[in-house]
């Protein structure tokens, strides 16, 4: 292919599982690679996978990864000529892209103007609506609070209020009645300012029991833009995705084509380059509305890779080099079914409170149609410094039932000890009859909370667990040794 630019050394300005995943592709492409690390992560396997690793410093570990001058400086001093931002951190920061531009370093992602346009909830909605794509009834905050509140009441309840500049679940809430609305708006503005440096909020009609359906798109500098089908990410807690799958069980072939073509239309209208995701809310009656665009690689991108066979990170790199897409829309087939489960350090039975600890044992599942993307390692301390996601377990099979079964097998195979995780909980979600029949919506976890609550171990298993624990406890075994009876079975403990 006709690369306009060639890269000598690519820096992954990220950490954890996504850094590992990008580094693997860079290796396959035969490119020199580098990765960032904070001193807390000196033992991270990403450091061994990359050809080079640069320490970043900051008041907090997250702060270090957000330090634009420092990271650009590292690029200059180490001869880095391209940066892959991964997701999170600086992945959607146009100032970072501009700073790299000035330093003559290529950002692997869209241009800053497109990032700014689509990264702004208000601007992107206006842009999409003006071009005739569907958006939900909404109101935009122009600073006049009285006007905003009147407009929210006019939209009607329930209404969703969120930070204009935000993403993820930060500062997002559903309001069901006018009472207390003024206080809620005031708090939302404070949070929006704090998280995103922009106090504007916006509100839109909240659709009950919607599905979250998003479409992967890929564009190049030559005007080509394709979709790589949809992903359904309805299983969420605290507005954050837990299980994602493709294809969506909700879409008929006609609706699928329709929603995917809308996504390509939106991406084309922005002259989008690189990998991006257009998110929609999908109502139970089959209507869908543009939600937002993520101008980066997504956490859940592997399920798209599993069904299409396309390495999305490799495509991002090729597009950044100026190559045209190597395939046409009709070449991209959606084959089989893929599911991703996010393994997080959290306690689902305690309202998903984050857990902390040390990874004492990690045995990834291995088998046909199984993929395990993780940056974790035995001995890793899991705390509040970074995101709670430890790993992504991805499976692929011929159809949805087989994929659900395979995900269950993979969870059974996985051993992750030392930190409480949602691994058991994910298994319970997958086994739930409503999930199995594809009746998912973004309220699934709340709606079925009673059914997917903790499954109590049988009395036999609990006794076996206690026996195992006691005989694995050094003090207990030492105490037995002190008792003057011959515990011949315990010989192997005395070392």
């Amino acid at each position: 292919m006709s690369a306009v630019r060639s890269f000598k050394k690519v820096l992954v300005a990220n950490r954890g599982e996504i850094a590992m995943r990008i580094l693997r592709t860079l290796k396959e492409l035969g490119l020199q690679s580098a990765v960032l690390y904070h001193r807390q992560e000196i033992e991270s396997p990403a450091l061994t996978l990359a050809d080079e690793a640069y320490e970043v410093f900051g008041d907090t570990p997250v702060g270090a990864y957000l330090d634009i001058p420092q990271i650009v400086g590292l690029c200059k001093s180490h001869g880095v000529d391209a940066v892959h931002p991964g997701y999170g951190f600086l992945a959607e920061n146009a100032n970072f892209v501009r700073a790299l531009d000035e330093a003559g370093v290529c950002f692997i992602g869209p241009r800053p103007e497109v990032m700014n346009l689509m990264g702004d909830k208000i601007g992107s909605r206006d842009f999409v609506a003006e071009r005739g794509f569907p958006i939900a009834p909404s109101v935009i905050d122009d600073g006049d609070e009285d006007k905003l509140i009147a407009a929210i009441i006019e939209i009607g309840f329930p209404v969703l209020i969120k930070a204009s500049a935000g993403g993820g679940g930060k500062g997002m809430q559903i309001v069901r009645e006018a009472g207390g609305l003024r206080d809620i708006v005031a708090t939302a503005k404070v949070e929006a300012q704090r998280y995103f440096g922009d106090p504007r909020v916006y509100a839109e009609r909240y659709i009950e029991s919607p599905r979250h359906i998003e479409v992967q798109v890929l564009g190049d500098e030559h005007g080509n833009c394709v979709h790589l089908w949809e992903r359904e990410c309805s299983i969420q807690r605290r507005f954050q995705k837990v299980i994602e799958e493709t294809p969506s069980p909700a879409l008929s072939p006609e609706l699928r084509r329709d929603i995917c073509e809308s996504a390509v239309g939106i991406a084309k209208a922005t002259n989008y380059t690189g990998a991006g995701t257009i998110e929609f809310i999908f109502s139970p009656n089959g209507d869908y509305y543009f939600l937002e665009m993520n101008t980066r690689i997504q956490v859940e991108h592997p399920i798209t890779e599993m069904v299409t066979g396309v390495d999305l990170v490799a495509e991002q790199v090729r597009v950044a080099m100026g190559e045209p897409l190597s395939f046409k829309q009709e070449d991209i087939k959606q084959i089989g079914h893929a599911i991703e489960c996010r393994i997080c350090a959290e306690i689902p039975d305690d309202d998903f409170a984050p857990s902390a600890g040390k990874v004492l044992m990690l045995r990834p599942p291995v088998g046909e149609g199984m993929r395990f993307d993780s940056g974790s390692y035995e001995g890793q301390k899991v705390g509040t410094a970074f995101d709670s996601m430890i790993a992504k377990l991805i499976v692929h099979a011929d159809d949805r039932d087989a994929a659900i079964a395979r995900a269950g097998e993979a969870l059974d195979q996985l051993v992750l000890l030392g930190v409480e995780t949602n691994a058991d909980y994910l298994g319970r979600l997958l086994r739930h009859p409503a999930f199995k029949s594809g009746e998912t919506n973004t309220g699934f976890i709340k709606e079925h909370a009673a059914d997917i609550g903790p499954s109590l171990a049988s009395a036999d298993v609990q006794t076996a667990v206690l026996a195992t624990a006691a005989l694995s406890d050094r003090q207990f075994v030492a105490m037995m040794d002190d008792v003057p009876y011959p515990y011949r079975l315990m010989k192997e403990w005395r070392n």
């Binding site: 000890l417 026996a467 011949r488 079975l489």
Partner: protein, 163 residues
């Protein structure tokens, strides 16, 4: 001699009862015939009253992490001596409901507060919440400052009760 293990919210006593060739453990109020083998790399094989249970086990101090029959368990060995010393934090000690980061400290040591007053803004799981005084009193030691990270159950602020 007996040992106590915590599983979930339950405390269960486990004691060895000796036999010459076979190990018998009293678990709760049940006597069980037990054979136990440590395999490679943390894999364990237990035979309990003739039934086999395979598990993966890892220990960190008193905490024993087990995966058995497709489920995860955390069992904590309760050291009888440490348990007695545990209840030292005062009634007015406000501890963290979950791990997180302090966003803002809203009171100073020596401030008078009434029940429900805001003490701290904390952030966990990307969500902010307010820590409030659980009783009337005077703010004693503040163990954190803005930006401090804390773990679940860490004492954040102490309130010296008026009572």
């Amino acid at each position: 001699m007996r040992y106590t293990f915590k599983i979930g919210d339950e405390l269960v006593k486990v004691a060895p009862r000796s036999l010459a060739d076979e190990l018998v453990l009293t678990i709760g109020d049940k006597d069980c015939d037990v054979k136990f083998e440590h395999g490679k790399e943390g894999r364990c094989q237990l035979t309990l009253d003739g039934k086999s249970y395979e598990s993966w086990v890892a220990r960190d101090g008193d905490d024993i992490y087990i995966k058995m029959s497709g489920s995860y368990f955390k069992v904590t060995a309760i050291d009888p001596c440490a348990a007695a010393a545990g209840a030292s934090a005062g009634a007015g000690a406000i501890s963290a409901p979950m791990p997180g980061v302090v966003v803002e400290v809203l009171v100073a040591e020596g401030d008078s507060v009434v029940e429900g007053d805001k003490l701290l803004t904390i952030e966990s799981m990307k969500l902010q919440s307010t820590v409030r005084a659980a009783c009337d009193g005077v703010v004693g030691r503040i163990h954190v400052s803005a930006g401090s990270e804390f773990n679940k159950d860490d004492v954040l602020v102490e309130i010296e009760s008026d009572d």
